[in-house]
């Protein structure tokens, strides 16, 4: 047993991977289906009211999926990541590990990497399912936009898990870490209301796939990518520093 296997065991034996992959897969199925049949579903419950909506487009299937996982998927990611990264939540467990490693970084890295890998894996599975569903129900999608958009979404998750790590560095408990991280991650898009800042925000990458399918270019997100690539290591360094300095 080593620290990497420990994190894989944490993911599998606590069934958190099922939560993560389940949420993404569930919305991957539901998104394209609801986009395709939304009018009919509303019509069944609408009585005499006639609802006229434009015919769904292929991009709507992916947009529905992304819209759902932007909140509930992010919640699942925060829960799974906090379970691993709130490493001082139980001081006695933390003491066992902390007294056996020379650097806090040694504990942080596997926890961060495995949580991020699981989140990206769930995103990839979810996107693949949503793509296949959309292709069969609504029509074809741009392969390039899908690949680049998924890459950007994965990059956002790299950032999001780093945010969870920092919050865990300031708050000990798992619950506080989940809600603190969500507060930060969900507040970030509000900063986008300040138009000059919007292109620089990592949160722009979350739904980039929709914009790319609508015709935006990959370069439109270059500033958000750069900020994410710069900020994420800084967040991890801050989180590691917080863990190293914290007393049990």
């Amino acid at each position: 047993m080593n620290l990497w296997k420990l994190e894989l065991a944490r993911l599998t034996r606590t069934y958190r991977w099922m939560l993560l992959f389940g949420v993404y897969a569930f919305f991957a199925v539901l998104g394209p289906l609801s986009a395709r049949y939304l009018n009919e579903i509303i019509g069944q419950f609408g009585g005499d009211v006639t609802i006229i909506a434009p015919d769904p487009r292929p991009v709507d299937g992916i947009a529905q999926f992304i819209g759902n996982v932007s909140q509930l998927g992010l919640l699942a990611v925060a829960v799974v990541a906090a379970g691993a990264l709130a490493l001082d939540a139980r001081p006695e467990v933390a003491a066992f590990l902390r007294t056996k490693v020379s650097r806090a970084y040694d504990l942080m890295l596997p926890r961060y990497a495995v949580s991020t890998g699981a989140a990206i894996g769930a995103l990839l599975v979810g996107t693949a399912i949503a793509w296949a569903m959309t292709e069969s129900l609504l029509g074809s999608l741009s392969v390039g936009a899908m690949l680049v958009g998924t890459l950007y979404g994965a990059l956002y998750l790299v950032f999001a898990v780093a945010v969870v790590a920092v919050v865990a560095g300031f708050l000990r408990s798992q619950v506080a870490t989940v809600f603190g991280s969500l507060a930060v991650l969900l507040a970030l898009p509000m900063v986008a209301l300040i138009e000059p800042l919007r292109p620089w925000l990592p949160s722009e990458l979350l739904a980039a796939i929709g914009a790319l399918l609508e015709g935006a270019s990959a370069g439109d997100f270059a500033r958000a990518v750069i900020v994410t690539l710069v900020v994420t290591p800084a967040l991890l360094a801050l989180a590691t520093r917080r863990f190293a300095l914290r007393e049990l």
Partner: protein
């Protein structure tokens, strides 16, 4: 576009409903945390799937104790022969140096002084008992030595690397979904990966957990966790052991076993043992540090501490002792006479020579059959004199 809602949509709805029902069934059967079951049920129903996600992630106790019956669990905390087999070592050095030395160590928690200007000196290869009442600062001291807390001021000099320290906290806990083997193997891998895998099983056998090596530790009793903590502490073959109340959760047989183990370790390791059970220290420690309200009141050989303590004797006679007690109290060389049990007296004296000459004479004068007359200076006496 068609006007019929296809079967796939209803399948998704049915799956979601099935998951919700399964969650509610699980809720009824499982232990929960954070909120009561009824609150979780409302949350799951009212905010599906958000409530479900929160329940699975935060509310559900996945690490329920293993299916080990309580009686069986208790059995595993019982006596097991512990034979500690240390790895091969070279001959012990002749020069005894301090392997742990603190200088002016002070720790404040806000305005509260946890440690005040402590100069601890632990010689290499000795067993050092750190004793003191609850809240004296023992755990804070060990935490600082282990690197888990930082001193407010002062220095700590360790003669070994931190990874050569084996640390056992007073209430060890582990991720409940790991097996005992995995816990100890993780400790081996982190502290001394050169040791063979077989070392893990060997050490688990030595602490009496051979029969539960592949059980998840979520079902372990506190005594079993303490043994497991000890195994995790020893598996890397550390040079220095910091043991915080190592026998506090154990039954008398388990406590005896741990003390025997510490006694054997004392031949080739440096052991710092923190406890408030003075009898444990008197049995296994050569050196002792007495700490109270953050201050180190005494540090040195246990025998020296006992020697400098007031001389006490116990007297056991047959018959009523009231008259004898009054006679002893009247003597100028007695400072305290108490009757801890019928027929028994405890004397604290200022002049041991006179006491040893006069006490038998007084017993004879009172025509009381003498059962025993022994010195009764012990660590408890010394401790109480220092801390009172």
């Amino acid at each position: 576009m068609g006007t019929e809602v296809p079967g796939a949509v209803w399948i998704v709805v049915a799956v979601a409903a099935a998951i919700g029902i399964a969650a509610l069934v699980d809720l009824v059967r499982s232990d929960v945390r954070l909120l009561p079951k009824w609150a979780w049920a409302i949350l799951i129903l009212a905010s599906f799937p958000l409530g479900l996600i929160l329940y699975v992630a935060l509310g559900r106790v996945v690490d329920r104790p293993e299916d080990m019956p309580a009686a069986e669990a208790a059995e595993h905390t019982g006596w097991r022969p512990v034979i500690f087999t240390p790895p091969e070592q070279g001959p012990p050095g002749e020069v005894v140096e301090a392997v742990i030395a603190t200088s002016g160590l002070t720790k404040m928690y806000g305005d509260t002084v946890a440690l005040a200007d402590v100069d601890l000196q632990v010689p290499r290869g000795r067993t050092y008992g750190l004793i003191g009442p609850n809240g004296a600062g023992k755990t804070t001291m060990l935490s600082i030595l282990a690197g888990l807390r930082r001193p407010t001021s002062g220095t700590v000099d360790l003669g070994v690397s931190r990874q050569s320290l084996g640390v056992l906290v007073d209430t060890p806990l582990f991720d409940p979904w790991l097996t005992a083997r995995e816990v100890v193997d993780l400790a081996r891998n982190l502290t001394n990966p050169q040791l063979p895998d077989s070392r893990t099983e060997q050490i688990l056998t030595e602490v009496g957990l051979a029969e539960v090596v592949d059980r998840r530790v979520g079902g372990f009793s506190r005594g079993m966790l303490q043994r497991l903590g000890l195994a995790g502490c020893l598996v890397g073959d550390p040079e220095v052991l910091l043991l915080d109340e190592p026998s506090s959760a154990l039954d008398p047989a388990g406590r005896r076993e741990v003390l025997d183990l510490v006694g054997r370790l004392a031949h080739h390791k440096t052991v710092v043992l923190s406890t408030h059970i003075l009898a444990d220290v008197q049995q296994v420690c050569e050196m002792v540090g007495v700490i109270d309200r953050g201050r180190l009141l005494y540090q040195g050989q246990l025998t020296d501490l006992l020697a400098r303590t007031s001389t006490a004797y116990s007297v056991h006679v047959r018959g009523p002792v009231n008259a004898l007690a009054d006679a002893l109290r009247a003597e100028p060389w007695t400072s305290e006479v108490t009757e801890p049990a019928p027929g028994r007296l405890r004397l604290v004296v200022s002049d041991a020579g006179r006491a040893e000459a006069e006490v038998p004479r007084l017993i004879g004068e009172h025509r009381l059959p003498l059962v025993s007359f022994n010195p009764a200076t012990d660590l408890e006496t010394a401790f109480l004199e220092l801390t009172s």
